[in-house]
Amino acid sequence: MDSIRDFVKTYSREICISAAVGVALVTIIKRRKKWIKKVYPANTVVHHQIGRGPHTPSITPFALKLETYLRMAKIPYMNEHDSITNKSSKGKMTWIEYNGEEVADSEFCIQYVNRKFNVDLDKDFSEEDQAAARAIQRMVDEHLYWTIGLYWFVYDLQHGVDIATLLNVPWLVVRLAGNMIKKQSYNQGVGRHSEAEVQHVMEEDLQALSKFLGKKKFLLGERTCSADCAVFGMLAQIHWHSPDSESVKIYKSLLVVEYSNLGDYCERMKEEFWPDWDDCITHGWTRKATK
């Protein structure tokens, strides 16, 4: 303790200068992206996301949801895989730019795109069906998401699953993400349950999705609605990703029992809106995605 105090006393000027230079550098680097703004084509939605995933076009369900929607609504768009270092103003990693305007959050992006391009994929459904579809989207985005997040970043680590290799990130990043998910899910509420209870509520959500879908081609029938993007974005994470994850084992065991319609639904959505799927994934990080 005394040696630290003496060091600080002796080199106080150097320490202050270093700290000031460090703060200035960080500020310049952060603001640099605003000064050197990339020019994008006009009238094209720029979809900022974190990059392609190993077995799905994105390991974040919200980016996959949004990109599926852009394809479903036939909106001209391009991808910019930079949002790990270039987050939105709200700190979210899925956001869009359109003619200089920035919008964050997948749901707000969808509403924005609907307004700008005069699109409404849900207009021909009854009010009751639209309401039910909105409830399904909320269940998936605000509840099922947390159960999967807890499995990937908290419980799987405890069970010795190699999530770092699955996500192709350093072990330390997975640990930090796990602490963040633990804290956020505790605040949200789901994180206060035990693992067995989280499994129970996850199974109930998957059961609800299966029963709601039934024998229909898509959530509301023969045609897709905007909520299909949310459901597909979320289910894709456990339909195609690592079989070692406990969440995936639970999902796959439910598919065998009586919820096989969810698996068929995922394959159907992939075939309909992602014919170039193989070009949009890294095949287990073995090659670069070409799209």
């Binding site: 709200k90 009010e127 909105r134 899910s185 209870e197 609800a208």
Partner: protein, 301 residues
């Protein structure tokens, strides 16, 4: 500075530690003293906030749980002493020495123990829709309501009369609750939006609830289901606790069927509402007595 052989910092630590010990012991003793004697097969519902100013509970979750007990005519009694469950969640219940926390887990526990199922008349698809709306209400709309009430400064005049503390105490309470809501909703995600963006999200949720309810007597049809307990609890929060906010006036003006539904549920299952709100002259503290089916008479245990 040294006093009685100890430095001032040591004294500060010793006094601080002593105060913490006194506080913990007092809390344990008070909890033991406040433990209610509960008859067998009677559910003891633990409320953290106690009865509310204009609504039997300020939080929608105890309202949901108590409404379920009333609809199913399950004998229960209330404990308003403020004990929290081991999970730090409230409300929670005790039933024949078993503790369960989280309102939804409490309901599932009671369904198994008592063999009751309000959803038995629903088809599989209807049950799925009900679950989806449960999550819309509890995982999304609830947070939007909290953000509006505690993070929109325009509503401070509405909070003051219902706050347990006045003057400087109110401002400390407001700061603490606002900080907790901001922290919780930031982690959730909805708190990263502005108050106005959250307003847009809430309008969509309220509209969805109104559209699905339509002109039905209950949310799923002619008979009450579990989702009615949740919806009623949240509407108590929205229409009564948040009375005077733009959320309440938006619902009244644009989705009046939700207001009519709320009144219908209130008169059916809470005929004693006025005896359970502290703003009423006929308020009776119901800590202890056993409620049977929410009827106007109360049996003492």
């Amino acid at each position: 500075m040294y006093v009685a052989g100890m430095s001032s910092w040591t004294w500060v630590c010793v006094m601080g530690g002593a105060l913490v010990c006194v506080g913990v012991v007092t809390r344990i003793v008070c909890r033991q003293r406040r433990r209610l004697p509960v008859p067998r097969d009677v559910v003891l519902v633990h409320h953290f906030f106690g009865r509310g100013w204009k609504v039997p509970s300020k939080s929608p979750f105890p309202m949901k749980l108590e409404t379920f007990l009333r609809i199913t005519k399950t004998p229960y009694m209330n404990d308003h002493s403020g004990r929290m469950s081991a999970k730090g969640k409230t409300p929670w219940i005790e039933y024949n020495d078993t503790q369960v926390s989280d309102s939804q887990f409490c309901i599932e526990f009671l369904k198994k123990k008592k063999g009751i199922d309000l959803n038995r008349g629903l088809s599989e698809q209807q049950k799925a829709i009900a679950r989806a709306f449960l999550k819309l209400i509890e995982e999304n709309l609830y947070w939007a309501l909290c953000i509006e009430l505690f993070c929109n400064e325009a509503n401070i005049p509405l909070l003051k009369p219902m706050s347990p503390l006045k003057g400087l105490g109110f401002w400390l309470y407001y700061w603490f609750v606002k900080r907790s809501i901001k922290s919780a909703t930031w982690g959730h995600g909805i708190g990263r939006h502005s108050v106005e963006d959250v307003w847009t999200i809430a309008q969509a949720d309220i509209q969805a609830l109104s559209q699905y309810l339509g002109q039905k007597k209950y949310f799923m049809g002619e008979e009450p289901a579990e989702i009615d307990c949740t919806l009623f609890g949240m509407l108590s929060f929205l229409l009564v606790t948040m009375q005077g906010t733009r959320y309440e006036s938006f619902t009244k003006q644009n989705h009046a069927n939700l207001v009519t539904y709320f009144q219908r549920m209130k008169s059916s299952y809470w005929p004693d509402w006025d005896t359970l709100i502290t703003a009423s002259e006929s308020f009776q503290n119901d800590q202890g007595p056993t409620h049977y089916s929410g009827l106007s008479f109360i049996l003492t245990c």
